[in-house]
């Protein structure tokens, strides 16, 4: 059972995707049931694995050979340990809720079955990343996650914006994957294996095995996370990805796929933490280590995205930038050398961010696809259930005790406090921003009076959609009680009593906890002052330059399109010109042309007139005679 269950968890969604796309496409209901059934079964099997005696205690693997050539041996296997079990639970629990919610949200869709096939394909790919025991398999599923995300973002492919967003997401991810692949090749060429366990063993035996490329290898692998987890400078795809259906945004672009980067970093943490060493060409970077760079990038992303979120008017884009910001916190935690808190925050964030998106989806559905928060307002009375679940998730995101988000974020901040006061101060500012943009959202969307057209009568979605929201709200409330860090660290469960754990932050780092609460309070007070009963955003009137820069996403997207996109186009144009005019034109046609020219010149002699030939003959004889007699 210990090996059968993981295989089932992984392969059931694939089977569902295959069955739907091959056979059951005309039967909408059956297709949806297959897809939902596969992931819910996966959820129960994961729970069973947790419950099995000893299953979670010890890491184990199951594998079948996939490819073997010239000394490279790649297996297709599953690695079941605490990290992968936790992640599988997050994916199947949150994913299952979102699958069920989709049934309601996508009901009127023409390609309903196709949607569920893509969703199941995504689940399969994501679980493949989770259980991967080696780099190649992880890369395999990593790319597959990107593909299914591309298919789902562009699900409404007839809308140019959606089609472009899918393309952009895939391309930006590919840039990150390039670094990931090079990192894998580099690690393999130095350590001679792609298997995580084997690599860890070899690196432990010989810490200098990576040689001068240690830091470079770590950073190249980090590039993969840069793309998938949308960290600066590869963050630009995530806000655009909101063009996809809202459940997709909840599942892929908030809870799971974007967390894959953080998960991967936690998985290969031993490589990132290797002794820093730079090659001679990069000697000027000596002193910086990989984790430090990761920390800076995470922190920068957290702050930048928090700022941009302040001035977004599309409800989903606010949430998207909030996701970026929280992912920045997770990456920063990795950079602080703390994969445990990063995974804890990943798990709680998956729950409450998915809940926020489901709430946003319910609002969008109720308002007939209106996404501008300034045309909502007063929804608290019309949609009480959505309001309360949204509020719970917001409080969790703003780290209000005793919700799950409080414990995970507090843990990250506490580690920042112990290691680097500057990082802590900046991360604290990020917390203020978080509370500010989230309460802005809540106050504008749910508070005040309705600013929508009179005829719209918003109402709650049906039970199929509200149950998943309640389920996620329950998880968000209860998550604080889960000792994720202790579980990942391998300690026996239940050593610390629930009460002592719940009061832990106060006991360990009271200052950090109070500072965190103060940040939330400050953010809330600012939001209350600025946005209570507001009919339009007051910021552009007060600080027009800053607000317009934030509205234009700090001009980064335009800059990328202009300089990176533009120079790529120019390069392609140059190649195409060289191909057309120089290789095909000058070289090939040149040879062709000179042969033809020779032919034409010779043809001039072939006039067909006897007199011409006689003249040529005469000239020839004369020349011959001259040469002979001379």
């Amino acid at each position: 059972m210990q090996t059968l269950f993981p295989w089932l968890i992984l392969l059931l969604p694939l089977a569902a995707a295959a069955l739907i796309s091959l056979f059951t496409r005309p039967h909408r209901d059956l297709s949806a049931r297959l897809s939902i059934g596969a992931i819910v079964a996966g959820f129960w099997l994961t729970l069973l694995l947790f419950a099995l005696p000893g299953a979670a205690a010890q890491a184990y693997e199951t594998r079948i050979p996939w490819l073997a050539a010239g000394g490279l041996q790649i297996d297709f296997g599953l690695r079941i340990d605490r990290l992968s079990l936790l992640m599988a639970l997050v994916v199947t629990a949150v994913g299952g809720a979102i699958h069920i919610y989709s049934y309601e949200y996508m009901r009127g869709e023409r390609r309903f079955s196709t949607y569920f096939a893509c969703l199941s394909l995504f689940t399969f790919a994501m679980l493949g990343v989770v259980f991967a025991p080696n780099f190649v398999q992880m890369f395999f599923f990593w790319e597959l996650v990107g593909v299914s995300s591309y298919l789902l973002i562009g699900f409404w492919f007839e809308r140019p914006a959606a089609a472009d967003a899918g393309l952009k997401a895939f391309l930006v991810n590919r840039v990150g994957d390039l670094g990931f692949l090079l990192g894998i090749l580099l690690v393999w060429s130095r350590l001679g294996s792609v298997h995580f366990g084997e690599l860890e063993r070899r690196l432990a035996e010989n810490p200098a095995a990576l040689g001068a490329m240690a830091t470079v290898a770590g950073l190249l692998i980090f590039c993969g996370a840069l793309g998938k987890s949308a960290q600066f400078p590869l963050h630009i795809w995530l806000p655009d990805a909101m063009e996809g259906p809202t459940p997709v945004s909840a599942l892929i672009h908030a809870a799971t796929m974007v967390a894959a980067g953080v998960y991967m970093l936690a998985r290969v943490f031993f490589l990132l933490a290797a002794t820093p060493h730079w090659p001679a060409a990069l000697h000027f970077l000596e002193g910086l280590d990989a984790l430090e760079i990761i920390r800076i990038i995470g922190l920068f992303t957290a702050l930048m995205a928090g700022l941009i979120a302040l001035q977004q008017d599309d409800i989903k884009r606010v949430l998207a930038y909030s996701t970026l910001s929280q992912l920045g916190y997770m990456v920063m935690a990795i950079g602080l050398g703390q994969p445990g808190p990063a995974m804890f925050h990943l798990a709680t964030h998956a729950g409450f961010k998915a809940l926020l998106f489901l709430g946003a989806g319910a609002i969008i559905l109720a308002l007939h696809h209106e996404q501008d928060i300034w045309r909502m307002g007063g929804l608290r009375r019309a949609m009480p259930l959505t309001f309360w679940t949204f509020l719970i998730a917001t409080l969790a995101l703003c780290a209000v005790p005793p919700l799950g988000g409080f414990y995970s974020k507090e843990s990250i901040l506490a580690h920042a406090w112990h290691q680097d006061k500057l990082v802590f101060a900046l991360a604290w500012c990020g917390s203020v921003l978080t509370a500010l943009y989230m309460f802005r959202l809540v106050l504008v969307v749910f508070g005040g009076s309705p600013r929508r057209p009179r005829d719209a009568q918003p109402h709650e979605p049906s039970h199929i959609a509200t149950w998943p929201m309640l389920f996620l709200a329950g998880l968000t409330v209860l998550a604080g009680g889960a000792d994720v860090e202790g579980f990942l660290a391998g300690g026996a469960q239940g050593t610390a009593s629930l009460a002592s754990r719940l009061a832990g932050p106060l006991a360990h780092a009271p200052f950090v906890m109070l500072a965190g609460l103060a940040a939330t309070g400050l953010g809330f007070a600012m939001a209350w002052g600025l946005y209570r009963g507001a009919y339009r955003d007051p910021l552009p009137a007060r600080w027009s330059t800053l607000a317009s820069a934030l509205r234009q996403r700090l001009l980064l997207d335009a800059w990328y399109a202009r300089w990176i996109g533009g120079s790529f186009e120019a390069l392609a144009c140059l190649a195409s010109g060289v191909d057309r005019w120089i290789i095909a034109g000058a070289a090939v046609r040149g040879v062709h042309g000179s042969v033809e020219l020779t032919g034409r010149l010779l043809r001039l002699a072939q006039t067909g007139k006897v007199s011409t030939y006689a003249f040529a003959l005469g000239c020839g004889v004369a020349a011959l005679l001259y040469w002979l007699i001379r």
Partner: protein
């Protein structure tokens, strides 16, 4: 009689029988061609199944009939692990091409006779173990290509395309002939038999200076035939103008002849000449991958885009060959099989699209996924396969090429990976975005999907082949790997070219292929 001889004789016999058939009964010709290619596919699958993996480096299903003993020419067929996959792929592509020939409406008889001739030539080239037949069979397939483009081709440029491909590939064949004859004379003018020549080259290698003179001829000849940069400009032009079945069969199967020849003839017979050229070949491969990939980005027509993408894919194969390692060569051979199916699929789909819309200009297409769900989905999958998405056959091949080529040439491999992952995605997804996504223009509201299941069959088979290879590369890799190792051995025997990043001496940190030796 060997199963290979049967596979080779079938199309020739059908050709003879059909030649005598009255040309009025047009359906007959396609039916027989499809039937014959299907039987070939079944037989080739049987052969691939029966192939003894434990003896993959030796030739199996061998048949040898002496023909001109004084020159050492004999009809000699057989496959090893390297060619068994290619023969199987060629029969699959031939079947798909035969199925796609329903678009031909004029001179149906002649077309199918030429198609059968081409089919026999392709299979013969991959199955022959005699240099003479190896070359003749390839020419046998090449000549019908020229005729088919000239007579049944499409677009205003077809005469020019037919003219250019004839001259260009004619030149390539001529250079190749010189190279092959040079090998024959180098080996003492006793035999054309490739197995004997290889044994001779192994036991007493030819003088290095001679090898160095011969290899460039072989590289140029084979390179032109396989559209090595910068000798590639014939390919997109010809494929854009060719009728669909011809483009499928040529781009899918026949073009692999040049690559197969490098692996089968050039590297084993003149390894010392080859070694010096390997770094040149690696940079030329980048010309294919990066340069042609960038050119593909700028194409305005779908068939030209696919044509350039197909040229770009050759870069993986050249890069794998240039690595000189067993891993890289295995990867190159896997890409050959995968790309054969992919090229046939892409050209088949674009050909059908052309039948529906009468244009392949990307700016005029759009939104076609809606009226054509089957064709659209298949084209999306083909484009994803083209940019190396896992789950399709190209992925394991490209992966092996990267792994094989990284230790000797990290810089070139990094550029190749950039071209594959980023540039490849740009052109492939741009094609999807422009042709299939976006609003649907009024003109194509009534575009007809492949509604007839029989017309879907070849595409379904090709996709199944690609996905099967992508998910389970083991069987093919197991067959190729011993043969690839045998080819790589003489190349590695001399000191390896200096790596850009020197490898540490500790045994632990060496790449596994060196450590395991």
């Amino acid at each position: 009689m060997s199963i290979l001889t049967v596979i080779l004789l079938l199309p020739l016999l059908a050709l003879a029988a059909l030649a005598a058939w009255p040309s009025r009964q047009r359906v007959m010709f396609q039916a027989v061609t499809i039937g014959i290619t299907f039987v070939e596919l079944v037989l080739a699958s049987l052969a691939a199944w029966q192939f003894d993996v434990s003896a993959a480096q030796s030739f199996q299903f061998v048949q040898k009939v002496p023909w001109i003993p004084s020159l050492g020419i004999s009809f000699h067929v057989g496959v090893d692990g390297l060619s068994v996959g290619l023969v199987w792929m060629a029969t699959l592509v031939s079947f798909a091409a035969a199925c796609a020939s329903w678009e031909i409406r004029e001179r149906v008889k002649t077309f199918h006779l030429l198609l059968l001739l081409m089919n026999a030539g392709v299979l013969g080239a991959f199955a022959s173990l005699d240099l003479f037949f190896f070359y003749i069979f390839h020419e046998l397939a090449l000549v019908p290509t020229f005729l088919m483009i000239g007579i049944w081709g499409r677009g205003g440029q077809r005469s020019y395309a037919a003219f250019k491909i004839t001259l260009y590939l004619g030149l390539g064949s001529m250079v190749l002939l010189l190279g092959l004859l040079a090998v024959f004379f180098l080996a003492g003018q006793t035999t054309f038999d490739m197995v004997e020549l290889a044994a001779q080259a192994r036991q007493s290698p030819f003088p290095v200076a001679r090898q160095q003179a011969v290899f460039p001829l072989l590289l140029l000849g084979f390179g032109i035939l396989a559209s090595l940069w910068p000798f590639h400009t014939w390919a997109p032009l010809a494929y854009g103008a060719a009728p669909t079945p011809t483009a499928m069969l040529h781009a899918g199967a026949l073009k692999k002849f040049g690559l197969y020849g490098l692996l089968r003839v050039a590297l084993p017979l003149v390894p010392d000449g080859a070694r010096d050229w390997m770094s040149v070949l690696a940079w030329l491969a980048l010309g294919n991958l990066l340069f042609c990939g960038l050119v593909a980005v700028r194409q305005k027509e779908l068939d030209r885009l696919i044509g350039y993408s197909s040229v770009a894919h050759m870069g993986f194969i050249f890069l794998g060959i240039a690595s000189g390692t067993a891993l890289g060569i295995t990867g190159a051979a896997v890409v050959m099989v995968a790309h054969g199916m992919l090229a046939a699929l892409s050209f088949g789909l674009s050909g059908h699209l052309y039948q529906q819309t009468r244009t392949l200009e990307l700016d005029r297409l759009g939104g076609l996924l809606r009226p054509m769900p089957f064709l659209g989905t298949a084209l999306v999958m083909a484009m994803l396969a083209a940019c190396g998405v896992p789950g399709f056959g190209n992925f394991p091949g490209e992966l092996l090429v990267f792994f094989g080529s990284w230790p000797p040439r990290p810089a070139a491999t990094a550029i190749a990976a950039a071209a594959a992952l980023v540039v490849g995605a740009v052109y492939a997804l741009r094609a999807v975005r422009k042709a299939l996504h976006g609003p649907l223009p009024d003109a194509w509201q009534a575009a007809d999907d492949l509604s007839n299941p029989w017309r879907r069959l070849p595409f379904v088979l090709l996709l199944a082949g690609l996905i099967g290879l992508g998910c389970f590369p083991g069987p093919l890799v197991d067959r190729i790997q011993p043969a690839a190792a045998a080819i790589a051995r003489p190349l590695e025997s001399a000191p390896a070219p200096a790596a850009l990043i020197p490898l540490p001496a500790a045994a632990l940190t060496r790449p596994p292929e060196e450590a395991s030796r």
